[in-house]
């Protein structure tokens, strides 16, 4: 309980520091939100209008006043109004998020389907051709950028064969290519991870004794070894989520897929600051929240091991 409390405190502290930094960065940066808003409305901008919008945004207040006002409303999920669409930024992000979560889940599934059998087979047949080709596959997979995989898959399945929709969203079929692309990219990382943690788990000294007590080969492998192999995999979940954030942004742009990733890229090109701010703080929160729950999960699956199995 004490540990959970301490971690929750450091989680909140991190969020506060990060959101403050992002606030300062954005508000002290060159560029004038007022003119961004007016330009979005596509009318000739007068000084009069600029001043009015600035007043509305509170830009004439001191930076400290702006900060406290921002922090207060941010905590109440009032993340400001999009400069471009005039919608609440929170709503925009929340509307885009499920689509991103779908392809993330699809990607995790794809990665697991590819990496678990290949990684564990490589470990069980260490040094064989299976192992060697798995390593080759992993290092090659880690070197091909995901947008290139995406482009090739679009070319192959959408343009040449015409089996699947290339871009957009709406049906389950639209999820397939983005999930596959993202999952293939992630799989290479997991193949290596699962291979090495399986190898380590096979060295676990107690397994011989357990096997001498008659526990079947199957059970030994999938209940005992697998459990031990899972520890390092779980401990890098935070890293996986980090890479997933970058991955979804790129993949959503490649496939013209309307999720949080393409929303943020659009917002950056249009300097739509409330949305950018909301997204970055939300993602930072997600990463550290995963990290936190991760530690708890590890404590549950491997008590008294703490963060010993941590790999970076």
């Amino acid at each position: 309980m004490k540990i959970i409390g301490r971690q929750a405190v450091s989680f909140l502290l991190f969020l506060w520091i990060f959101s403050t930094i992002s606030f300062l960065l954005i508000n002290l940066a060159p560029g004038d939100p007022a003119s961004t808003i007016l330009r979005a409305e596509d009318v000739a901008v007068t000084q009069q209008q600029l001043n009015e919008v600035r007043q509305e945004l509170g830009m004439n207040d001191s930076i400290f006043e702006q900060y406290t006002a921002w922090l207060g409303s941010f905590l109440l999920f009032d993340w400001g109004t999009s400069y471009v669409t005039q919608e609440p930024a929170f709503m925009m992000i929340m509307r885009a998020l499920p689509a991103t979560i779908y392809i993330s889940a699809g990607a995790f599934l794809t990665a697991a389907v590819i990496a678990v059998p290949i990684g564990s087979a490589a470990a069980l047949h260490r040094g064989s051709w299976i192992d060697k080709s798995a390593r080759l596959l992993a290092v090659t997979g880690a070197s091909v950028p995901s947008f290139l995989i995406g482009l090739v898959l679009i070319q192959l399945f959408a343009v040449q064969l015409g089996w699947l929709p290339a871009i957009g969203a709406g049906t389950w079929w639209h999820l397939l290519l983005p999930s596959l692309t993202l999952g293939i990219g992630m799989a290479s990382f997991y193949i290596r991870l699962i291979r090495s943690s399986f190898l380590e788990a096979l060295e676990e000294p107690s397994l011989r004794a357990v096997s001498a007590r008659g526990i079947s080969e199957q059970k030994l492998r999938w209940k005992y070894t697998f459990r031990a192999a899972l520890v390092p995999v779980i401990s890098v979940l935070g890293v996986s989520i980090s890479s997933l954030i970058g991955g979804t942004v790129v993949i959503e742009v490649v496939f013209g897929y309307p999720g949080a990733g393409s929303l943020i890229v659009d917002s950056i090109t249009r300097r739509d600051i409330p949305v950018i701010q909301g997204y970055t703080v939300l993602m930072a929160a997600a990463v550290s929240l995963i990290q936190l729950s991760n530690d708890l999960l590890l404590r549950w699956i491997a008590p008294n091991r703490g963060t010993e199995g941590r790999v970076f």
Binding site: P205, G214, I215, A228
Partner: protein, 264 residues
């Protein structure tokens, strides 16, 4: 019941156990003693050759258990025999329990294999009974190996023997990492198992007083060979081989008995 016949264990370059023959009868406590590096542990591990370090193998000889040669039988049959009839107790008991599962979960798996007919409640009762025998509270069941002390883990290992009622317990210096009081208790538990469950015991021992007090038979090993064997009171009080003599001399109680014999 257990017969080792001219057993030789070798690495790529040399023989570590040479032509060892020994036998353990039903319900008998057979101790193996000798200086370190004599090949005692390897001899004990050879009963289930899969436990041997991967660089070593049995190059010749046989290990007969109830008539079945464990060296040459197929892996599956061998494991079946070993798991149903033999229990291992190691010096470092912690390394014989999987660190990521609670004692309850590990015992449950063992009982499911060894006593397939039992219901969940009956399994639980058996476990509590076994813990009772080794004087541990039932709360140990939900703990993990890392949460237990060395003596507790060793008692848990003996409780496994109680659960499975093997015909033979093979123990490799089970008390050498423990303090005097705990090891006395562990030895008594072995005796309980021998008396009440009728288990035979093959024990590697470094303490000749223990051998003298508990064992029915003793084999002295040196340099990979058995140099002397017989009843402890005769072997240890009238050692014939140089190694045995040296071993006995290091134990004050025995030293005096040797001197007395020499004077007669």
């Amino acid at each position: 019941m257990l017969q080792m016949d001219k057993l030789t264990v070798a690495s790529a370059s040399n023989q570590l156990v040479k032509q060892v023959s020994l036998s353990v009868n039903k319900g008998e406590w057979h101790a193996v003693a000798g200086p370190s590096g004599a090949g005692k542990s390897l001899t004990a591990l050879s009963v289930y050759p899969d436990l041997l370090p991967s660089a070593l193998s049995i190059s010749s000889g046989a290990v007969l258990f109830q008539g079945e040669d464990l060296v040459r039988s197929p892996e599956k049959l061998r494991r079946h025999i070993v798991s149903r009839h033999i229990a291992y107790v190691f010096q470092d008991a912690r390394s014989s329990f999987f660190p990521l599962l609670s004692i309850y979960k590990q015992w449950e798996d063992i009982l499911k294999v060894q006593r397939p007919g039992l219901k969940k409640k009956e399994r639980r009762e058996k476990m509590e009974e076994a813990l009772d025998v080794v004087l541990l509270p039932a709360s140990v069941l939900k703990q993990y190996p890392s949460e237990l002390s060395g003596g507790q883990v060793q008692r848990v290992a003996l409780a496994v023997a109680w659960l499975t009622s093997p015909d033979l317990i093979i123990a490799d210096e089970p008390t050498s990492a423990l303090d005097v009081l705990t090891s006395a208790h562990i030895m008594e538990l072995f005796q309980t198992l021998q008396k009440e469950k009728g288990c035979a015991i093959l024990m590697i021992s470094h303490d000749l007083r223990e051998v003298l007090r508990f064992a029915d038979m003793v084999s002295i090993m040196a340099d990979g060979q058995i140099v002397e064997a017989g009843r402890p009171d005769s072997v240890l009080t009238a050692p014939k081989h140089e190694v045995t003599r040296r071993l006995c001399r290091s134990v004050p109680v025995l030293r005096s008995s040797i001197r007395r014999e020499g004077a007669q």
